[in-house]
Amino acid sequence: MGSADEFIKLRCVSKEYATASALRGIDMVVEKGQWVSVVGPSGSGKSTLLNIMSGLDNPTSGQVVIDSTDITAMKEDEMARFRREKIGFVFQQSHLIPYLNAVENVMLAQYFHSIADEREAADSLERVGMGHRIDHKPSQLSGGEQQRICIARALINSPQILLADEPTGNLDRENTRKILELLNRLYSERQFTIILVTHDPFVAQWGRRTITMEDGKIIRDEYR
């Protein structure tokens, strides 16, 4: 279904809504271990593309193949299992559970994957520089700290793909740089694939490849 160089493959993927087309026949291949930045103006289809690649949304037509598996043909429970094992998410909003502390938020992701392991969760927080804040609730943390916990939560189950939708959208330049440095370090250590959606050229430049979208189409695909 796909070669080793075609870790993620989109074939003629379209997404139609009643009044608009979000994606128009997208063809795209991502190799294993690539860091791809997806940029473009608001409404260009970046987030829709990310949602379809993660199986959170279905395309109107076309096919999405990840690691030789056609995810568009999967049933709901198969898709949930696939997401749980292969994909990690980081969003603009942290979506941390407000009444759980930092380590418990990470353990929740472990629990839905398999079983919870507090020591491993604490170690992962240590690796993102939050070892001193494991007992703190999200409301006691800054935006940058919350995003670090989100990254620890996204990577705790060793996903092959990290999908990030405007992960630094709420942060100032300094915190944005720190988060990207952290991501870059973890990426170098673990060699997972990153698809990062952003409208910020500073964030996009951290990727090794930049795809530019406009009006539901890819208009530019550049390698660095």
């Binding site: 994957h113 079983i115 491993e120 060793s158």
Partner: protein
């Protein structure tokens, strides 16, 4: 003529349901076990289905043969059910130890990996599981049709029972097989489940009769009991002053079905409980080979899930064993039958008791008591049909205990003094705890007993002569 008769409907419905459930379990187990050996699994499944069809055909043939030749095989069927159950249970226990690394099978373990051997086992399993019950069911069907004088109604009801079990049973079984119910079974779990289905399915005997334990226990206790009596006889010692009612009740307890059922319950439940504990708490193997992090957690979660799954049917089996025991104990506690003695008199030295009179039938399988007055003594007589169809006529007293008589519990009579159960087939034989036999002549209308024989034996009982010891 009534087109619906409940008993054949229920019996055949139950047997049909049992075939569906057992087939589902075995075939699903083979599916799950096959892995990538789908060809072998298909061969095993075919062998099982062919075995099943042949077993059912053979059941009909055996039932037809025995009915045609008037051969009573009820006892043999009962024994076959008990033995096949015991065999399944022993295999399950062996499988249990084998699974946990305790070698009991030796060279048979290699055979277990041989496809031909597995195919042969798959073919043979339906015979062990279904043959005796189905011969019994068909014989029962025929007997009911004769007794009710309603052949059409009985066979039609049986057919409806079959349709009603197979109609929903087959699609549900197919659905559950596709849903991967086989992942709930490992080998001991499957064998335990099959054994318990056989137990609950009942055949023609219930929980108490199923157990081989009770008969072994009764045999051993009977031997001990008789040895003690013989010892008193040899030593010319009176036994009853030493063997007080308390001691007798204790002896009765050792003899009785209460202890048998407790031992049986232990024998049945202990391996199931051991299986559950060992499966849940044994250390996980292969975990040290697994990487850290998510892979390790996924490995542990998969192992735990598997353990939960394979213990679920065994846990249900354990509950069913206790439920059966509870039902059986309830049944026993209410089932002692104690008829009031009917007065009889002698005519020219002969007592005549009609075989059938005003709805009372001496051949109905229940005990019948009669009282005969002689001076100040009221002597009770006990008559009952034995399993071989002949009538046993005895005093309602034994050679050993005070003359309190007997009650009936299913296929046994029970001494009201020492609570010793005695199988119906041994009544009429002299000695031990059996009621003292009388010389009786059974005609086509009545049972005739010489009053002098009754009086002589009663005197022997009163004076302790029958014990052969000084009283």
């Amino acid at each position: 003529m009534n087109p619906f008769v409940a008993a054949p409907f229920i019996i055949i419905f139950r047997e049909g349901l049992k075939v569906c459930i057992v087939s589902l379990f075995v075939i699903s187990f083979l599916d799950a076990r096959s892995g990538d050996k789908s060809h072998a699994a298909s061969k095993w499944t075919k062998a099982f289905i062919i075995g099943l069809i042949l077993s059912l055909t053979l059941s009909v043939a055996i039932a037809a043969f025995t009915i045609h030749n008037h051969i009573d095989v009820r006892e043999e069927i009962g024994n076959f059910i008990a033995y096949s159950f015991a065999m399944l249970y022993i295999l399950a226990v062996i499988g249990l130890y084998q699974t946990h690394g305790i070698e009991l099978l030796g060279p048979l373990k290699k055979a277990g990996n041989n496809s031909f051997f597995v195919t042969a086992v798959c073919f043979a399993v339906p015979f062990m599981l279904f043959l005796p019950e189905n011969v019994g069911a068909f014989a029962f069907l025929h007997e009911t049709a004769l007794m009710k004088g309603n052949t059409y109604g009985c066979y039609f009801s049986a057919f409806m029972g079959l349709v009603l079990s197979a109609g929903p049973g087959i699609p549900i079984a197919s659905y559950l097989r596709k849903k991967g119910i086989g992942s709930f079974f490992d080998l001991p779990g499957l064998l335990f489940s099959l054994a318990v289905i056989k137990l609950i399915g009942g055949g023609i005997r219930g929980f108490a009769e199923m157990t081989l334990v009770s008969s072994v226990q009764r045999g051993a206790m009977k031997m001990l009991h008789d040895m003690i009596h013989q010892l008193f006889v040899i030593l010319m010692l009176p036994d009853h002053p030493l063997l007080t009612p308390f001691v007798w009740r204790f002896v009765g307890f050792l003899f009785g079905s209460t202890l048998a059922i407790v031992i049986a319950l232990f024998v049945l439940a202990a391996p199931l409980a051991i299986y559950i504990v060992k499966t849940i708490f044994s250390p996980m193997t292969g975990i040290e080979m697994t990487q850290e992090g998510a892979h390790r957690r996924a490995f542990i979660a998969a192992q735990r899930s598997r353990r939960r799954k394979v213990t679920a049917p065994v846990f249900i089996s354990l509950l069913l064993v206790f439920a059966s025991w509870y039902a059986a104990s309830g049944e026993r506690s209410t089932s002692l039958y104690l008829p009031q003695p009917l007065p009889v008199v002698s005519d020219k030295g002969v007592i005549s008791i009609p075989l059938r009179e005003s709805g009372d039938d001496l051949f109905d399988g229940r005990i019948h008591k009669f009282s005969f007055s002689s001076g100040s003594d009221v002597i009770r007589i006990l008559i009952v049909k034995k399993p071989d169809g002949r009538l046993a006529t005895c005093l309602d007293a034994c050679e050993i205990c005070p003359q309190e008589g007997y009650g009936q519990s299913h296929e046994r009579i029970v001494c009201l003094y020492c609570k010793t159960p005695i199988p119906l087939k041994s009544i009429g034989e002299p000695g031990g705890c059996n009621p003292i036999p009388l010389n009786a002549v059974v005609t086509d209308r009545d049972v005739r007993i010489q009053a002098s024989d009754i009086l002589k034996k009663w005197q022997d009982v009163k004076t302790g002569k029958t014990k052969g010891s000084v009283k």
